[in-house]
Subunit: 465 residues, 2 copies
C-alpha cells in the first residue's frame, strides 16, 4: 500500500496523478533506492483504475529514469534520487505600493488613447491578417518587414523632409528597446556616454544597466550646452533630444547642432538622437532631425508609442551603414524580431495616411490642452511662473522662481490625489532644478487640467512654499 490518493474530479489525468505521487514518494525518500514497486496489475487494482493508466505512469517514470524495469523482475527505484525537500518561501509576491487614489495624474509621456481610432485599427488588423502570407508566420528577419520600412521612409519624407532609404531603417520594439541595442553596440566595457542633464531617468537607467559610465552635460533653455563638450576629458557617444529636450523642452539651435556634429567628427563618435515626441509641435512645423546633418554620424531613434499607442511596441532606428550588420546580429541574439501582425497593420495605417490624419487631429487637441494648462496657471499664479522650452510635446516644465519643491511637497500632492513629477527626479546632478515641476497634459481632459492646477495652487499655498 503506497497511500496514493486520486482525485477523479481534477483536470489532471489519473495516470499523471499516479506518476506525480510515485515521483514525490521517491524524491522524498519514502520509496528508497532499489525498493520494488507493485506490479502495474496490483497497483491498478489497488487504485481502481485500468492497468493502462498505471502503465502510462510507469512508462514516463522509466523514460525519466526514476524506475528501472527489467524483464522477469520487479520494477525498482533508481539510485541517487533523494533530494532534501525545500519549503517554498511564504508571501512570495511582488508587493505593489498601496494604491493611492489619484484624481489628477500629471505624469509625462502619456498620449490620449481615447482619441485613437481603435475601430479603424481593428479593421486594418483584420484586413492585413487575412492577407498575410504563410511566410509571415515564420521568422521574417531582424530588420523588420520591408513594406513597413518603406512606409516609414515615406512618412518621414512627407512629414519631416527626411530623405532616408528603407534599407537604413531598422524596426524596434519601441524607443527604449532601440536605445538598449544601441548601448550594447556602442557602450561596452565601461564606456563613457555623454548625456544631457536633466534627461529621461528611465533612459538613463538603461545606460547605467549596461554598465556605461555617465558624463552629464548641462542643459539650458536651448538644450544641451555644447560648450561643455569641449571641456570633457573623456569622450564617448553623445545622447541628445535636440528637437524637444526632455524634460526642459528646448530646441537645440543650429549653431549648437553644428558644434555637436563637428565635435563628434573630431572625436570619431556617434550621436544618438532621441526624437521622442517632436511630431507634436504647436507653434509651427516639426523641427528637422539632427540626423539630416550627418546620416553617417547620427543614430536616429523614433517611436510610434506616442503617435499611435504604447502597447503597439513598434519604433525604429535609422542606422549609419557601419553599424547595420552588428545590429542585425545583435537583434537576432536578443529578441529575434518584432511580431508580424502589428507590423503589417501599422504598414497599412501609414499607407492609407490614417496616421497622418490622427497626428493632425491630436496636434490640435494637445495644443488646446496646453493652452488650457497655461491659462489655468496664469489664473492661479499670476506671473509667478515661467513655462520652459518650445511649445511642443505632451508635457511642459514650469519654473516657479524662488520656490523649492522638496519631498514634503510631493508627498502632500500624492495624499491630495495629485501626481506630479519634479524636474529634479530626472537630474543627474541634483539641486539645480528644485524650482521646476513637470506637468504632463496630453492625456487629460481640460476640466481635469483645470482642477489639477487649482489643487496644485492650494497645496503650494497650504505648505507656504
Amino acid at each position: 500500500m503506497l497511500g496514493i490518493e486520486l482525485n477523479r474530479k481534477s483536470e489532471l489525468k489519473l495516470w499523471r496523478q499516479i506518476y506525480q505521487a510515485l515521483k514525490d514518494l521517491m524524491l522524498s525518500g519514502k520509496l528508497k533506492a532499489g525498493e520494488a514497486l507493485p506490479s502495474t496489475r496490483e497497483l491498478a487494482r489497488e487504485l481502481n483504475v485500468s492497468r493502462n493508466t498505471v502503465c502510462e505512469a510507469y512508462n514516463l517514470l522509466i523514460a525519466e529514469g526514476f524506475i528501472i524495469s527489467r524483464q522477469g523482475t520487479h520494477t525498482r527505484v533508481s539510485d541517487g534520487l533523494f533530494i532534501e525537500s525545500v519549503e517554498p518561501p511564504l508571501s512570495p509576491k511582488i508587493t505593489n505600493n498601496a494604491a493611492l487614489s489619484i484624481s489628477v495624474d500629471f505624469r509625462t509621456g502619456r498620449p490620449d488613447l481615447s482619441q485613437f481610432p481603435r475601430f479603424l485599427w481593428r479593421q486594418l488588423l483584420h484586413k492585413v491578417s487575412e492577407e498575410l502570407p504563410l511566410e509571415a508566420f515564420s521568422y521574417t528577419g531582424p530588420q523588420g518587414l520591408p513594406e513597413l520600412r518603406r512606409e516609414i521612409a515615406a512618412w518621414l519624407f512627407r512629414n519631416r523632409g527626411l530623405n532616408v532609404s528603407p534599407d537604413d531603417i531598422f524596426i524596434t520594439a519601441g524607443a527604449t528597446h532601440g536605445l538598449n541595442l544601441i548601448a550594447d553596440i556602442l557602450c561596452r566595457d565601461n564606456q563613457k556616454i555623454l548625456i544631457e542633464d536633466p534627461c529621461h531617468i528611465g533612459m538613463l537607467d538603461t545606460f547605467i544597466n549596461k554598465g556605461c559610465s555617465i558624463v552629464p552635460i548641462p542643459v539650458d533653455t536651448e538644450g544641451m550646452q555644447t560648450d561643455y563638450l569641449l571641456r570633457c576629458q573623456k569622450t564617448g557617444p553623445i545622447y541628445v533630444t535636440p528637437s524637444h529636450q526632455f524634460p526642459l523642452g528646448g530646441i537645440l539651435p543650429a549653431s549648437r547642432r553644428a558644434a555637436l556634429v563637428r565635435f563628434a567628427r573630431e572625436n570619431d563618435l556617434y550621436i544618438i538622437e532621441d526624437d521622442y515626441d517632436s511630431e507634436f509641435r504647436y507653434s509651427g512645423k516639426p523641427i528637422a532631425p539632427l540626423y539630416t546633418i550627418d546620416p553617417q554620424r547620427v543614430i536616429y531613434v523614433g517611436t510610434f508609442s506616442k503617435v499611435a499607442f504604447p502597447a503597439l511596441r513598434i519604433g525604429y532606428v535609422i542606422l549609419p551603414h557601419r553599424l547595420q550588420a552588428r545590429w542585425c546580429d545583435l537583434r537576432t541574439h536578443t529578441d529575434v524580431q518584432n511580431p508580424s501582425f502589428e507590423q503589417a497593420a501599422l504598414t497599412e495605417f501609414l499607407r492609407t495616411r490614417k496616421l497622418d490624419r490622427h497626428v493632425h487631429k491630436m496636434r490640435k487637441i494637445y495644443s488646446q490642452r496646453r493652452k488650457v494648462l497655461l491659462e489655468s496657471l496664469e489664473e492661479a499664479f499670476g506671473s509667478e511662473w515661467v513655462a520652459y522650452g518650445d511649445s511642443a510635446g505632451l508635457h511642459v516644465a514650469i519654473d516657479f522662481p524662488g520656490m523649492l519643491f522638496g519631498e514634503a511637497f510631493y508627498n502632500c500632492c500624492l495624499q491630495n490625489g495629485l501626481y506630479i513629477t519634479p524636474v529634479e527626479s530626472h537630474c543627474i546632478e541634483k539641486g539645480r532644478h528644485q524650482s521646476k515641476l513637470l506637468i504632463g497634459y496630453g492625456h487629460l481632459e481640460p476640466d481635469v487640467i483645470r482642477n489639477g492646477v487649482v489643487l496644485l495652487s492650494d497645496i503650494i499655498k497650504k505648505l507656504d512654499i
Copy 2:
C-alpha cells in the same frame, strides 16, 4: 538670386523644399554667417509661390536657429553653422550570401506552419481586438497580461502536470529573449556559466554576447554528464535542456537531475532549464520539467514559437521569487513589454483548447515524418547509422560511425541543393562529433524527406566519406 529650384510634382510641400534648400546653402557655406536673406516678399516673387509658403520655411529656420530675424532689419544667417559636407559611402547595403537554390532544407527547429490553423487564429485575433479595453492600448506592465499567464498556468498543469502560480510566470518575446534577460540578471561581470556541449550555438552566442565566460560540460546519450560538474573549479549558473537535449536528444535521467539540483543547492546556483520542444514526444507522454523538483532553484524557459508560430514572438519564463523584482525592473528598461493583441489572441487560443488540439495533431504529423526519415535512412544506409536520443522534437541527430563530415562535404551538399547542419557546428570543443549530422524533418513533407535522404546518400557515396 539663390538658385533654388522647386519641384511642384513632389510629395514634399513647397515650403519644405524652400526650407531644405536654404538650409543646404547655409550648411555648405554658400550662404555665410551674417549674410542677409531676401525678404519673404522678394523670395516669394522669385519662386512664384505665396508669401505664406516662404514664411513657413523662414519660421522653421528661425525656430531651429539657422537664421535670426530682428524687427526692422534683414533676416540674417546665424554664426557657426558651417560643417564640411561628407559624401555618403557607396554600396552601403548589407549583402546577403548569393542565394543558393536549396531543394531540401533539413534545418532544425522549424515547425510546419502550413498546418497551423491560420484562419482560426485570425478569427480569434479579430474577436479579442474587438473586446480589448482601452487600457490594453497603453502600458500593460512588464510581466504580461494576467489572463494569458493564467491560461499558460492551466496549460502547463493539464499537459505537463506542472503546478505553477500565474504570479510566477513572466511573458517574454520568445525563448531567446528570455535567456537574454536571465543572462543580464545572473551573468554580470564576466561570470562563468556552465553549458552543455554540444548546445544550441545561437543560445551560446547570446551568453557570449553578454560577456559570460563559458564552461562546457560534455553531453552523452543521456544529456549533460553531471559527474563533470563536481570537477569544475569555478561555478556559475547552469544551462540545460533536460527534456530533450539539444542537439543530441537525450533525456536527463532522474539520478542526474537529482545530482544537478544537489550541486546547484550546495553552490547556491540557479539552473536554467530550456524546454524548447518537449511538447512533441512520440513514444509517450512529455517529460516532466526539472523545474518540478526545485521551483526556487530552477528557471524554466518555454516558448510558443514551435507549438504555435515563430512570428508570434511569445514565450515565458517561470522565475524563482528572489529574481522576480529584478526581472520586472530589467524588462521595463530593455523593451518594456510585449504588444497586447498577440497576448490576447494567444490567451483565447489556450482558453478554448485550440492549442492543445493543434499540438495533438502536430505530434501525429511529426511522428509520421520522423518515421519516414528513419525508414529512408535504413533504405539508403542499411544499418550503418544510429539515431541519437529520445523519439521527440522536430529534428534528430544521426551518427554514421566511422565517417567524418568536413567542410568539403557540407559545401558539396549546398551545391547539390541540400541544407544540412553538422552537430560540430553546435559544439564548443570541436572534433568530438564529426560523424554526426542534424536532420530537421518537422517542416518537411514525406516526399521531400525521402528525396533529401537519397541526395544525402548520393553525396556520401560520391565523396567516398
